[in-house]
């Protein structure tokens, strides 16, 4: 686990088993060094918007990937996604839904809200590990992000 300001991956997961399995999988692929886990939707928003418990955080240090479960206490994953993607300060943060649900309506809703990827957790653990590995590699290594801070991006987007 890492400090909130050095987070590469924000893992939003309420279930301790899933949390452990996911962390295990990430760890196996050496992606778990800068992983920070929050346990419900509200906490996820506080983290991302630097409020409440995370008011000390800076917008300049956003995570490089958010792994978001859909079924969450307080605020569910879709609500979190909506807030993140609607706010210019956070909308460039890649959000990957990592869920048990393969429901079409969840998929459609997620994509409508601007999710970057949607991954169903396979029952088979080997498959799960492969999936986590692929997703982590893709977003953490292959994918290119702008060098500007999210604040700069937001400012540029506000100009005509």
């Amino acid at each position: 686990m890492t400090t909130p300001n050095e987070v590469d991956i924000l893992l939003v997961e309420d279930n301790p088993d899933d949390l452990e399995l996911t962390l295990h999988a990430l760890r196996r692929e050496n992606l778990a060094n800068n992983v920070f886990a929050v346990r419900d939707g509200e906490e996820a928003l506080e983290f991302l918007f630097c409020t409440g418990r995370f008011s000390g955080r800076s917008f300049d240090r956003h995570p490089r990937l958010v792994l978001l479960d859909l079924k969450l206490p307080k605020l569910n994953g879709l609500e979190v996604l909506k807030r993140v993607k609607q706010d210019p300060r956070t909308k460039s943060v890649p959000v990957v839904i990592l869920t048990s649900s393969k429901e079409e309506r969840d998929l459609v809703a997620s994509y409508n809200l601007g999710v970057n990827s949607y991954i169903q957790k396979p029952v088979d653990f080997d498959q799960f590990r492969k999936t986590v590995k692929s997703a982590g590699l893709y977003w953490m290594v292959i994918n290119q992000r702008p060098l500007s801070t999210p604040a700069q991006i937001a400012a540029a987007a506000a100009q005509p």
Partner: protein, 703 residues
């Protein structure tokens, strides 16, 4: 001048000298001659006066001659006086000569005049004539008066007569016209008459006083089956049955005595006639008599009424049957009304339905069958009027029985018309439908209940549906999660702690992992199945052949190390949801592959066949097949015909296939024999996407 002088000079001695101047003689001559001359001068004057006054005197020119001649004579006498003293004898001689000339002319002229002068009536004659004339004139005048009177009378009479004649003329004119018309009519009538006699439907036979046939028309020939030439001159008896002959003869005689021109026969009973072939037939007859040249002629007009009697009998029978029928009808009130709505007839059914017997009700106004309210609204009359307007009136309504109880009646009022199209009355057919009405009410209530229940059930189902959805969501998410955890942790256990496990423990761990994988597959298949149920079809035309080939290439990994022969026939283009159709063939073909696994060479065939005029697609394999007694379980969810050790599977595949085919409006069935392969047949209905919905079945049932 010399002649004049000679005239008035002379050397002669005056005439007095001859008288010797004897004064007596001289004066005698002188005075006499003077008087004569004077007289002679007076006469012409008188004559001239007369002639001028009496211009009508005949031969008046003779008076002028006389006047001239007498004037000459007077002048000669005057010359005698003159010559007594003056001896101008030449002058005197000339005067005498002129007088002589005039006198001779007058004398000559007088001669031819004499007879005419003699003919001139004398005054006495004239007077007499006058008198006569007078008389005649008077007589004439009297006559004239008489004539005038007569003439007036005559004129009067002439006028009267003229008027009379004019009117007679007019009537004559009319009579003449009438006469002409009558003649024409008579001629036409005669022509018609002979035509009528010849073409008459009725037999016309004329006989004389002795019953001898004088006229026998064509209809008679036909009716009696006898030729006219055979009948004429014969006795009428040959056409009368023997038992009636004498009576008939008497009858005709009596009729002859009555002097009545014509009358119908048979007042005493049915008349019978006899044909030439001896058969008898009923007739109707009338007889007439005429007298010509002192001989009586009887003419009989006959009609064969066999057919009519038969018809009448049939009609009577039919009416009787009809009456019996009407009386026999107990459930329907059938009655007739006159045009004003009074009851004319009443059947047993009417008595049963309405409670009145026919004696009570016939002649009564049918308004008594209505409720007081309907009567107040004038409905009985209105219904009759509407029946007349529309040709029929039909309704259900409350009616009243004799005992005052009310019942529901269904009735039809039909107007009836006579041959002249005048309203003759109404027929009414009514039925007590109280029971039916109650049944209907009951059905209506039941229907309402049912609808209510359907609504409730629908709500329940909708609730269940959304529960089910929540459930599948839950299965999809929540049930998979612990499964994943079991799988994950057991995997981690196997990897990281297998060293501390007994081999038996490791086997148990493997069984846990197999079980979780299987559970994962089951959940996925089940979710697929429910998803198909909720899936809306996207129908388009897709080629089955390329679809099947795609599926086969997807299945390639499963065929590794096996000999599989694919026989793909010409497959049609079909309308359907290609994604779902692909699921169908994925299932069917992977099943075929699975169940041919024991065969050294698998043969899998996909083709079409026509069954009962319908194009059917089939998938056939040479696999292990199945016993047809389990065919009904084939498509059930979680139903399997093989043990899991033999052939893996969740028992959801064929249920999914059936669900998809049914959603397309098609059918699927299988034909197999244990160990001899299986064939799956399927049809795709031509149903369009919008007809296949989640609700249509319910919608159709409520319509």
């Amino acid at each position: 001048m010399e002649i004049f002088h000679k005239l008035f000079s002379s050397n002669f001695l005056p005439h007095g000298t001859c008288y010797l101047w004897d004064p007596h003689i001289v004066w005698l001559h002188v005075i006499s001659d003077s008087v004569i001359a004077f007289s002679y001068y007076c006469i012409p004057l008188s004559l001239i006066y007369l002639v001028r006054k009496r211009r009508d005197i005949p031969f008046n020119w003779m008076f002028w001659m006389f006047g001239l001649f007498i004037l000459g004579c007077g002048t000669t006498h005057l010359m005698e006086v003159w010559t007594v003293w003056h001896p101008t004898y030449l002058l005197s001689g000339i005067v005498k000569a002129m007088t002589a000339a005039v006198s001779i002319i007058t004398a000559v002229a007088l001669i031819p005049l004499l007879p005419r002068a003699i003919a001139l009536p004398s005054p006495s004659q004239l007077k007499e004539t006058n008198l006569q004339l007078q008389n005649q004139v008077e007589t004439r005048m009297q006559r004239e008066e008489e004539l005038t009177r007569l003439s007036q009378e005559l004129e009067q009479r002439v006028e009267e007569r003229t008027a009379e004649l004019a009117s007679m003329n007019r009537s004559l004119q009319g009579e003449i016209t009438l006469g002409i018309e009558t003649q024409q009519a008579l001629r036409a009538s005669q022509a018609r008459l002979s035509g009528v006699i010849d073409s008459a439907m009725d037999a016309i036979i004329s006989v004389d006083q002795n019953q001898k046939i004088l006229l026998f028309n064509a209809a008679a020939e036909k009716m009696f089956a006898s030729n006219a030439c055979d009948a004429l001159g014969q006795s009428l008896d040959r056409f009368i049955p023997e038992r009636y002959r004498s009576a008939h003869a008497q009858h005709v005689r009596r009729f002859g005595d009555t002097g009545v021109t014509a009358r119908s026969m048979g007042s005493m009973g049915q008349l019978w006639a006899l044909r030439g072939d001896g058969t008898e037939f009923p007739i109707e007859a009338s007889i007439s008599q005429t007298e010509a040249a002192g001989k009586k002629l009887f003419t009989v007009i006959l009609r064969d009424v066999t057919e009519r009697q038969r018809t009448e009998a049939a009609l009577r029978e039919s009416e009787e049957r009809y009456r019996l029928l009407l009386d026999g009808v107990k459930d329907y009130a059938i009655y007739m009304l006159d045009p004003r709505g009074r009851v004319l007839s009443w059947n047993a059914g009417a008595e049963r339905v309405k409670g009145y017997n026919s004696e009570e009700i016939i002649g009564q106004d049918f308004a008594c069958f209505y409720t007081a309210q309907d009567r107040a609204l004038g409905r009985p009359v209105q219904e009759l009027q509407r029946a007349v307007q529309a040709g029929r009136f039909e309704e259900q309504g409350i009616r009243v029985r004799k005992d005052g109880t009310q019942f529901w009646a269904y009735k039809i009022i039909t107007p009836m018309y006579d041959d002249a199209h005048a309203l003759h009355g109404f027929s009414v057919v009514a039925r007590d439908i109280t029971e039916r009405k109650q049944a209907e009410d009951e059905i209506r209530n039941l229907n309402q209940d049912l609808e209510q229940r359907v609504r409730e059930r629908t709500q329940e189902l909708e609730a269940a549906n959304s529960e089910l959805e929540a459930f599948t969501y839950s299965v999809s998410h929540d049930l998979r999660a612990p499964l994943r955890h079991i799988a994950g942790f057991s995997k981690m256990l196997a990897e990281e702690c297998s060293g501390c496990l007994h081999p038996e423990g490791r086997r148990y761990l493997q069984r846990i992992q197999d079980g979780t994988n299987r559970m994962g597959m089951l959940i996925d298949d089940l979710l697929n199945l429910t998803r198909i149920g909720r899936h809306e079809l996207t129908v388009k035309v897709s080629g089955l052949e390329s679809l099947v080939n795609d599926v086969i290439s997807d299945l390639r990994p499963d065929t590794e190390g096996r000999e599989v022969e694919w026989k793909i026939g010409n497959l049609p283009f079909v309308e359907g949801d290609s994604a779902l159709l692909k699921v169908v063939f994925q299932n069917l073909l992977s099943n075929a592959l699975k169940y041919t696994r024991p065969r050294p060479k698998a043969t899998i065939e996909v083709g079409t066949e026509e069954i009962a005029g319908e194009q059917v697609v089939y998938v056939r394999d040479n696999g292990v097949g199945f016993d047809m007694k389990y065919a009904d379980k084939l498509f059930g969810v979680f139903q399997r015909l093989h043990r899991a050790e033999e052939f893996e599977g969740t028992g959801v595949g064929l249920a999914t296939v059936q669900r998809i085919i049914q959603k397309h409006g098609g059918r699927i069935w299988a034909q197999a024999e244990l160990d001899k392969g299986a064939t799956f047949y399927l049809t795709l209905g031509s149903t369009k996407a919008n007809e296949i919905d989640n609700e249509p079945i319910l919608a159709k049932e409520t319509v």
